[in-house]
Each structure stands twice: as structure tokens, then as C-alpha cells.
């Protein structure tokens, strides 16, 4: 749906009442109902997609597959849905110690309150992380603590009602699980995990969104979010090789599903489908050709992303497992992972206890430099930025930085790689090696304090565009700062959701800033053996000094 022009929305965010209530709230938060209207919620899952997941994971995806409308007063919930939620909460409190701690230990100091991009962008108090968690804590207190059972509302408890369920659906889908708030929490409460539990519980009663469940279904069935079948994936990669040949004169012939390859390469499927991700994929292809890497693509493990993380831990485990099943089948030594965001949170924080340790693989060692990646000793999976930084550090790449001189670059730390796995310096090292003009955004918006793109965790769907543009405003504002100060025209990052959503965000707030994956910039700078003189970059853009009419 159409949204306000950027200048108007900017004023609205700063001056107008909160987006969702449309007024300055006069009542207490628990007496202010969540009201669904077009543009403030993502579409529910299609009936057949709901059915598909329920057949595969009946314990995780409950409720009745149906057409339902969040704006209506009847969501066609299963009988006894309140008990299903409470039972689900009980099981999770027993299973996940983190949840129990997060429910108990908040002291409401408020340090998190203004750290959330959705709070900053919507002005809605329920988007303060403390209050987002309180939506669940109040139910927890009411039914699972002694004080709450006796004192109820006096102890901050409230029963599970339809009104509470609506709040959960609204606010657990206005959190991108970016974890910026948890950086500031003196107790380290990870609100992302509260949101994850909130979504799990909603799934038990069939309350869901299509933009997450359909890619997850595609990934389970076809191997990737897009639903690219093996022949299509192969054709797309080969098509990118045609483009590479046109730009560089070098023909690359990558292999697929090749048994005995040393390394299995896995990246988000959007990298071989949509712009600007495809230019990142061209960068990977050039890099691997440059160093003569013995690697293979897979048409089965053809997705880095894992929308199970946004759904339910059983689904996350299942989707993660196929990477390892494929590594085993092909007999590779280890896995190299591309520029994906949330794949790395799954890998770094959950894989080991879900599907690991992957003892059948070897501790990753770069065949080019001999560097052993002991940080990946258990998961056996290395990030492309670590791998590339090591190649550069050891002088294995022939780079011509000036080929990126048409770009003045700033760096967006993708939430999941920055806060989820501590990948902060490697991408900067790579960036500084392939571009001459790199400017950091203000320090409270980068590294561990990075601001989310505003559309992560499967919220990158168009029907909530205003919400996305509001949630992304803090990030866009920091980009604007370096654009105004240094004429920055490129926002680089290492995440597929970022590449897609920051593009929309920049088109809206900073229309002259393009978004590029780090490996695209590497690919531009790589001097390939036997290449022709480059007239353009990988997206066929003019290079500095090669503009038409000039020398």
C-alpha cells in the first residue's frame, strides 16, 4: 500500500503520536488494545502453506489451516487455545533456561527502552523492549509464579486473553530479533529470544504470517526460500557466469553437487536470483576462480537462510540439518558460507547443540594459506569474510582498489553477523583492502551497536512498508549523515535480507545511495589472470575515469 512521502513521514515520526494507537495513549499499556488495520500487520499464511508445515511438524505448527483475517474479531482459533498457549509456555520454561531467566530477572531499569529501532520509528511504547517482554511476562507471572497466582493484577499478572494474543501477534512481529537492546541490558536479557518464544507459542494456535512460512516451506521442499529447482539454480549461476565473461573476458565453469570437492559453498538463494545479491554472487565466483578453490555448489543445500529461526526451533533444526547432510553426502572437508545474516546466528549460537558437533567434517583449513579456523572447530563452517580477510592478509589476492573508485562506501554491520557472531573487523579489513574511500557511520550506530535494516526476521514483506521504513529510519539516518558529510554513495553489508531491504530503505530515505554486498566490491577489485581491461563494474556500471567521453 502507498505510504507517505519521506519528508512527511520523517516529520510524523518526530512529532506525531505513535503510529499504531494514532493518539497519545491516555490509559495504561495493558488497557490500550492492539488494533489491526491495513499496513500494520503482515498477511497470515496461506491455508495450503499452513497445512504443509502442519503435516511435517504437527508438534510445532498447530491450529486449524484456514483463511483468517487479523482485522476481524474471530481468528478461528482452536478450542481451548488459551490452555494450549499456557501448556506451551510451561514446556518452554522447562526446556529453555534462558526463557525462565528472562521472565524473572528484569528490573525495569529502562536502559533498553530507546534502543529499539521500532520504538524510535513508531513511537509506540509497546515497542520498548522492556514492554515487549512484559507482554509475555505478565502472563508468566499470572500463571507460573506464586505471587502472581495469589495477587494477580497487583503482582503485574494478567490472564491469557484474546486481547493479549492480539498484542503478541502485533508486537512479536514488530521485533526483528536484532538484539540491539540486549547490548545495553545490564542483565543481558535477550529480547530476541523472548520474541522467538512468542512466535513459537503463536504457531501452536495457528497464528502466523505467510512471508515467513512460505519461504520456510519452499526451503524444506525445494532446498531454498525462492523455490529454485536444481536446473533453475544451475542455469541462474551459469547466467551470472555469462555476465562475468562479458565484464572480465574470463569464463568460469563452477560445479554443482560434485562429490569429492574439498569445500561445500552455501549462500542465500537470493544471491542467485535478485538484484543486488546477484552481483555479490558474481564476486564469489570470481574470488574462487582467482584462487583456484576446489569447491562445489549444491542444488539441495541451496539456501543459507533459515526461516525456521523466525518460526520454531524444531523447524530451524531441520532446515539447518540439510547443510550437514549434504556435506556428508558429498564427502567435503568443510563448509564455506556466503553473505547471509541469520544463517550465522543459527550456526554460531544454536547449531552445535541442535545438530552438532559435526565430527564427520574436518576443522576448516584454508587450502590456499594453510590457516586453520579454530573458531569454527565445532561447526566446521567459515564465513566468506573471514576466509577472504585471511587470503588478503597472506597476500594471495591481486587487487586493484581503484576499480571501486566510483564508490564512496560506508559499512552496515548486519545484526546477525555483528552481534550474533562478533564478525566486526574482518569485513572492515576486506573493505579497506578493496576500496579507497570508506567512511564509518557514527559510533553508536555501528559494530555491536549497529541499527537493524528494520525488515529482518521475515518482516521484509511489502504490505508493511510504512512500518519497515519507520523501523529502518535510525539506520537510514546514520547513512544520511555520512552521505551529507562525505558524499557516500554505497552502503555495503554482508546479509541477503539487508541487500534487499536496505535497497528499499535507501530508495525511500536516501535515494542516491546504492547497496552492495562486500564480495561484489571484492570481485570488482580482483585482477584476474588473462582478463580483458574492465570497462564496467559487475553491475555494468561505469567505473571512475571510464565515463563515456573520457580517456
Amino acid at each position: 500500500m502507498a505510504i507517505l512521502k519521506a519528508d512527511k513521514l520523517g516529520v510524523n515520526v518526530a512529532k506525531a503520536p505513535s503510529m499504531l494507537t494514532g493518539a497519545i495513549p491516555k490509559k495504561a499499556w495493558c488497557d490500550t488494545p492492539a488494533i489491526f488495520k491495513p499496513g500494520n500487520y503482515a498477511y497470515p499464511a496461506k491455508k495450503e502453506i499452513h497445512e504443509y508445515h502442519q503435516k511435517n511438524l504437527p508438534q510445532a505448527i498447530g491450529g486449524v489451516p484456514r483463511d483468517w483475517d487479523p482485522e476481524k474479531d474471530d481468528w478461528l482459533l482452536p478450542d481451548g487455545w488459551e490452555q494450549i498457549i499456557l501448556q506451551g509456555l510451561k514446556e518452554r520454561l522447562d526446556k529453555f533456561r534462558s526463557l525462565k531467566i528472562f521472565m524473572d530477572c528484569c528490573v525495569r531499569c529502562g536502559a533498553c527502552a530507546d534502543k529499539c529501532h521500532f520504538f524510535l520509528g513508531t513511537g509506540d511504547p509497546k515497542n520498548m523492549p522492556v514492554l515487549r517482554a512484559e507482554l509475555m511476562r505478565s502472563v508468566y507471572r499470572n500463571d507460573f509464579t506464586l505471587g502472581g497466582k495469589i495477587l494477580r493484577k497487583l503482582a503485574g499478572g494478567r490472564p491469557m486473553t484474546f486481547g493479549v494474543l492480539k498484542e503478541w501477534f502485533m508486537y512479536y512481529y514488530q521485533c526483528t530479533e536484532c538484539r540491539r537492546c540486549s547490548v545495553y541490558c545490564p542483565y543481558g536479557i535477550d529480547t530476541a529470544e523472548v520474541t522467538m518464544m512468542g512466535r513459537e507459542l503463536l504457531h501452536l494456535v495457528g497464528v502466523n504470517i505467510n512471508w515467513i512460512l512460505e519461504p520456510a516451506a519452499n526451503s524444506n521442499r525445494t532446498g531454498n526460500h525462492m523455490g529454485l529447482q536444481p536446473h533453475t539454480l544451475k542455469e541462474n549461476v551459469e547466467y551470472l557466469c555469462d555476465d562475468i565473461e562479458e565484464v572480465t573476458g574470463i569464463r568460469i565453469n563452477p560445479t554443482f553437487n560434485r562429490k569429492g570437492a574439498e569445500i561445500l559453498f552455501i549462500t542465500p538463494s537470493a544471491d542467485v536470483f535478485a538484484e543486488p545479491g546477484i552481483y555479490t554472487a558474481m564476486g564469489y565466483l570470481l574470488l574462487f576462480e582467482h584462487i583456484g578453490l576446489d569447491y562445489t555448489w549444491s542444488t539441495y543445500a541451496s539456501e543459507g537462510g533459515n526461516f525456521g529461526l523466525f518460526t520454531n526451533n524444531e523447524l530451524m533444526k531441520k532446515l539447518n540439518a540439510k547443510m550437514y547432510a549434504e556435506a556428508k553426502r558429498l564427502g567435503v572437508k568443510w563448509i564455506l558460507g556466503g553473505e547471509c545474516g541469520h544463517m550465522w546466528r543459527v550456526l554460531h549460537q544454536y547449531m552445535d547443540t541442535m545438530n552438532g558437533p559435526a565430527d564427520f567434517l574436518e576443522v576448516p583449513t584454508s587450502p590456499i594459506t594453510g590457516t586453520r579456523f579454530d573458531n569454527a572447530a565445532s561447526t566446521k563452517m567459515v564465513h566468506i569474510s573471514e576466509f577472504t580477510a585471511d587470503l588478503i592478509k597472506n597476500g594471495k589476492l591481486n587487487l586493484d582498489k581503484s576499480r571501486n573508485d566510483h564508490r564512496k562506501v560506508t559499512w552496515h554491520d548486519s545484526c546477525n553477523t555483528a552481534r550474533g557472531m562478533g564478525l566486526l573487523d574482518e569485513p572492515r579489513y576486506v573493505l579497506n583492502s578493496v576500496v579507497n574511500d570508506f567512511h564509518e557511520m557514527p559510533e553508536n550506530t555501528i559494530r555491536e551497536q549497529t541499527f537493524c535494516c528494520g525488515s529482518g526476521t521475515g518482516l521484509n514483506t511489502d504490505e508493511i512498508m510504512e512500518l519497515r521504513m519507520r523501523g529502518g529510519l535510525p539506520r537510514a539516518n546514520a547513512v544520511k549523515h555520512v552521505r551529507d558529510k562525505y558524499d557516500v554513495n554505497t552502503l555495503a553489508c554482508v546479509c541477503a535480507i539487508d541487500r534487499a531491504t536496505l535497497t528499499s530503505l535507501m530508495n525511500y530515505w536516501n535515494p542516491d545511495v546504492q547497496v552492495a554486498g562486500l564480495s561484489e566490491l571484492v570481485g570488482n577489485a580482483l585482477v584476474m589472470e588473462g582478463e580483458k581491461e574492465r570497462e564496467t563494474g559487475l553491475r555494468f556500471e561505469e567505473l571512475a575515469g571510464k565515463e563515456e567521453g573520457e580517456g
Partner: protein, 106 residues
């Protein structure tokens, strides 16, 4: 799911107005209907070529083509596709051809 009627044909569409049954329900009345909402006054061979290309690709691959492949196959640069279908290759041309929206990190 909403059902809409145009020139006597009935179509089931999703929230964004894409055909839920895809090409099964696609016909001339659908073209006529989408022409109206897309603001296309004259249906030309170029429009038809884009629709044919999308449908042919979809039958083979079960997904819409990469935009660059659509451009290459039809010979129309992206700019021309936007002139033909003002909402763009996805929301305009794919909707017209009865293809579903792509999902995931896009």
C-alpha cells in the same frame, strides 16, 4: 480469499491481487482486468511477448525468471519493461501473467 468478476469471468485473488490459482484461471478477461488497474491503454505485441516469456519460463521452472533473464529473453531493457508494465516486472508483469509473487530474502 476475495473473488472478483470481470466481463463474466470469476477470479480468486490474494491480498495483493495475484491470481491464487495462477495460470489455471488466466484468460483474456484477466488481461483486460489487469490492463485497467495497471493503466495500460493499448495491448501490444510487446506486452504479449513479456507475458508469453514469463508463462513459458514458469512452466519449465516453477518460478518467475530473474529480471535480467526476462530482459535478455525478451530483448527489452528493464526500463522498457517498466514502460510496458508501470508496476514493474513483479507486481505488474507477473501479476498479469498469472505468476505468484517470489518470497524469501528479496
Amino acid at each position: 480469499m476475495p473473488i472478483l468478476e470481470h466481463n463474466g469471468s470469476k477470479f480468486t485473488v490474494d491480498e495483493d491481487g495475484f491470481l491464487t490459482q495462477g495460470m489455471e484461471e488466466f484468460n483474456q478477461d484477466w488481461i483486460d482486468y489487469v490492463k485497467g488497474i495497471e493503466g495500460i491503454s493499448d495491448w501490444t505485441d510487446e506486452h504479449q511477448k513479456v507475458v508469453d516469456t514469463l508463462q513459458e519460463y514458469y512452466k519449465k521452472n516453477g518460478i518467475a525468471p530473474m529480471v535480467r533473464i526476462l530482459s535478455k529473453t525478451t530483448g527489452f531493457p528493464l526500463k522498457r519493461i517498466y514502460e510496458l508494465f508501470p508496476s514493474g516486472p513483479g507486481k505488474g508483469a507477473c501479476k498479469m501473467a498469472g505468476l505468484p509473487k517470489p518470497t524469501g530474502c528479496v
